[in-house]
Symmetry: C2
Subunit: 561 residues, 2 copies
């Protein structure tokens, strides 16, 4: 008896995972991967690092080869083979062999679409000029490497300050190029909150990168044989031999759309929680599909390799008759920029507000903190800037962002697991995590985040934020409880200064008819101050994250001098 025939469109991440899993579950199935490009299962997340010569050989990017699929899994991989049409009624696909130009048909019992996403092409002229590149495939990266050498490039312009833009910038700097980043929005990493992204921008500036925020490219023009000019709306032109365009990706849905499969509102392929499209014989996984976001409750596009692999596995399970569901995504992600790392799980404040979820239904609150990545008494502790977003209603963790030279990924992963399990800030408070002086603190940053948030929820302290400090209301007195030397170095305009150590003695200097907004450097001493003040009958609130958060916010967002 012949086994079922499983055809898979796209051999990277989701498609490759699906194929291998299907084979492990069904030895008799006929499994064919159709991959339009010259490689199967390559490490597309490694492409920027191949450009930067961190990954030195192209072979290293090849996670698997057609030969390996054949030998290990008895899976046939057809490279240079683009599926250009689906005959759903006949359960047939039309394949174009790019090497021969020939078209042919194949039948399927189950079809899995894993076409991925393609770089967004902004509506500007000049994208096809030599020297202008998108970053999607190994040949793309190879061409960029070659161009750097051929043109002996000393400069580059990176259009777009998201993940790929930042990773490409790092790697071009590593190759010795002077890079200009042009980002349309007023911040890098537009999905994150600006104050959490700020440290990345500082790293870029340190490395000599020019960062142009709020700058739009109007067109790209030829400028001699070896260069182009990136013309901004401001009129300014930046002449360079190399332009990388990385302004986002969009799901590849042409094939699905042509076949009449349902698409979602965001333009991705619509699937159910078994990764099944509107045609029950066709599954879709990876960057091309819209998925359920477990925190926002909305459909989302999340073009990341982890979920793609998971979806591929689930599609295989379902095709092989198992009752398995995709639980949705929570948006865990990380980007490194030299020694600085920004990691996150769950939506940002910006996203929650854009979706109209911040106030209702979630009743969001946020806290900032700046703990060391390990015990301060052990040399080498690096500060982690952390932002925890949670519900005032039940303490549920909604989002977390952390940026640091060390330790940000670990705390994000722990909180990602807490989010997955529906955890609250109270869970973080009582987490039992690894501690030895070189690895953490007796109160780990995760515990501290939980404690600070739980203090708010229990009503022990109310918090205000850096943005509230821009123009405090009339009835507010701003109180700085740091030491004199700290106050002298800089403070919030108009703040009254009483160090914590003399607060109890000098409390009568404070007016009872005003609300007191206290701050110290990171928010810990001022929390103690607020607790004391409240017990003596003052209305007092704490500036979350302290002067440090205030400073970052001012630089990242504010307009203050």
């Amino acid at each position: 008896m012949r086994g079922k025939r499983l055809c898979i469109v796209g051999g990277v991440a989701g498609g490759a995972s699906c194929a291998a899993r299907a084979r492990r579950l069904d030895e008799k199935a006929e499994i064919i991967i159709f991959e339009r490009g010259p490689f199967v299962s390559f490490a597309n997340c490694g492409l920027p690092y191949y450009v930067g010569d961190v990954i030195r050989r192209e072979e290293h990017l090849l996670v698997a080869t057609p030969e390996m699929f054949r030998q290990r899994f008895n899976i046939e991989v057809r490279l240079h083979s683009e599926v250009v049409g689906i005959d759903r009624d006949g359960r047939r696909i039309l394949v174009r062999d790019h090497q021969t130009g020939r078209h042919y048909e194949e039948t399927y019992d189950a079809l899995v679409l894993s076409p991925g996403s393609s770089p967004v092409r902004p509506p500007i002229e000049g994208l096809d000029l030599p020297g202008v590149f998108f970053v999607r495939t190994i040949p793309d990266s190879r061409a960029i490497r070659r161009m750097i050498e051929e043109r002996n490039a000393r400069t580059a312009v990176v259009v777009g300050g998201g993940y790929i833009g930042i990773e490409m910038t790092e790697n071009l700097v590593r190759r010795g190029l002077q890079v200009t980043v042009v980002e349309m929005q007023r911040q890098l990493m537009p999905l994150c909150d600006p104050e959490m992204v700020w440290p990345l921008q500082e790293v870029l500036v340190e490395k000599g990168v020019e960062v142009r925020l709020g700058a739009e490219v109007e067109r790209i023009e030829e400028a001699g044989a070896q260069e182009v000019t990136v013309r901004l709306r401001s009129g300014e032109g930046i002449r360079t031999p190399l332009v990388i365009v990385a302004v986002g990706v969009r799901p590849e849905v042409q094939l699905a759309r042509d076949a009449g499969l349902a698409l979602g509102q965001l333009g991705g392929i619509r699937v159910n929680d078994r990764m099944q499209t509107s045609d029950p014989s066709i599954w879709a996984v990876g960057d091309a599909v819209e998925v359920f976001h477990v925190i926002t409750g909305r459909q989302t596009l999340l073009p990341l390799a982890g979920p793609a692999n998971r979806q591929g596995r689930i599609a295989a399970d379902v095709i092989c008759g198992r009752d398995v569901r995709f639980r949705g995504v929570q948006g865990t992600a990380v980007v490194g920029l030299f020694d600085q790392v920004l990691a996150m799980t769950g939506p940002s404040e910006k996203t929650l507000k854009a979706l109209g979820l911040w106030d209702e239904p979630y009743g969001c609150e946020k806290v900032y903190l700046h703990p060391g990545h390990h015990a301060s008494y052990y040399p080498g502790a690096e500060t982690i800037a952390m932002k925890l977003i949670f519900s005032r209603k039940d303490g549920k963790i909604l989002g977390f962002q952390a940026v640091s030279k060390k330790g940000a990924v670990r705390r994000t992963d722990v909180i990602a697991m807490a989010v997955q399990k529906g955890g609250t800030v109270f869970d973080l408070e009582e987490a039992e995590l690894c501690y030895a002086p070189q690895f953490g603190s007796a109160k780990d940053p995760v515990n501290l985040a939980g404690m600070i948030a739980a203090n708010v929820l229990r009503g022990d302290v109310d918090v205000v934020h850096a943005e509230d400090m821009e123009r405090p209301p009339e009835h507010v007195l701003v109180l700085d409880v740091r030491e004199p030397f700290e106050f002298r170095r800089g403070h919030i305009p108009g703040a009254l200064h009483i160090p914590l150590g003399s607060l109890r003695q000098r409390m009568e200097e404070l007016p009872k008819d005003k609300e007191i907004w206290a701050y110290c450097y990171v928010g810990q001493r001022s929390y103690v101050a607020v607790r004391a003040l409240r017990q003596y009958g003052y209305r007092a609130k704490n500036l979350s994250g302290g002067y440090r958060s205030y400073e970052i916010w001012r630089k990242a967002v504010g307009k203050a001098p």
Copy 2:
């Protein structure tokens, strides 16, 4: 109206946390810390690193000073003040001032005992000889440092291969000493599983440390003015100017016992989940108390700073009228040894078996894996040796150990959070964690651990373990599916060799009347082989962790050549 008077015995970790928290909750309380030693709130976990000059100045170990407690918290700290008696009926304590020799009484409304633990003194002669040290306090470390210099010590003997023994060994090696570690048991880190500890032993040997396992010290003898001889039961004597005795700690319960407070079966102070002793006006926290272990369901002693701090906070909450409970401990811990790190959460196999919990009620199973700490295609990936223990009944995660140069702590912390939330291996399978090539893999090691365990639970594969390979039953055929060059380098005696790539073609060589135990290097290829074999009607099982686990087990435990 006078606030309540809170007396705290012991000013490190639990005691200090309790005091500060109490102040934040109750501005009017009178809070006094009685600390027998010369310092309050010092970093005892840092002591080995102070000996090793990693932490260069004694001041760095002082997390807080009496002055800071007074100024910030209005808390009185009395140093050199030992509480030597409790009059429970009169709610009074008797204090001995070690500086004046004077005794005096203080009353309390609430009393918190945070006396910590003291090093176990093994029943041998010579512990009081000059040059023989325990490691508990800053003065201890200072004395060790001084002794190294005074005696110009070139060698040392560390008695005990647990946390402190290992950390002290690292730091003495760092100071240039030739160290011999003498451990009574047949492994270092006796609470962990021997195969997971093995890499630490390899590091010690690499660093020129002599490791004597199963070796017992009979006595320590004088050997001239500047040295002692550590005499082993074997008769051998090791002459050295410096001996560190670190054979464990025991709870300090003298004061509690004298006061008639209930002790537990393990010798710690008995407390309820509000950290209350058998006297409702007396609380106890930290190393001195017995606590509930959330996995074993038994009482345990866990002398670690994290739980101590949490307990101190909870005692303060309860004393201040809040309804807060200690959730118990799960035994998360970490030890570093140069660049090698061993981290764990939940009990080891050894502990579960010793407590009689392995088979029933938990129905434990375990899996081993050896993933890279980040994507293999990005340079610098380090292997993490991982062991996941879970229940066959419901997939609940019971214990996890990981050892690696990088990435072990992060995965342990993630799994610690999963354990805290009652998570299963299925949760690990679908965890959404940070991935970029330098930080992880699209399938993170945590995902892989979950997948491998879930495969077992779903009946997709059965596993056997290295110890089963020592002497496989008659009806078993051992099958090596690696490449020829791997097989030639070493294999399990008697194994049949068919590389995975030709398994499907050569399957008829395999007997159907035997059970096939397949292995590859880490267990992944042989998993694919087992899946294929089973579908062709063979009874097949997979060696969990593969040849790599087999090799480690043989070195760590086995008696094979």
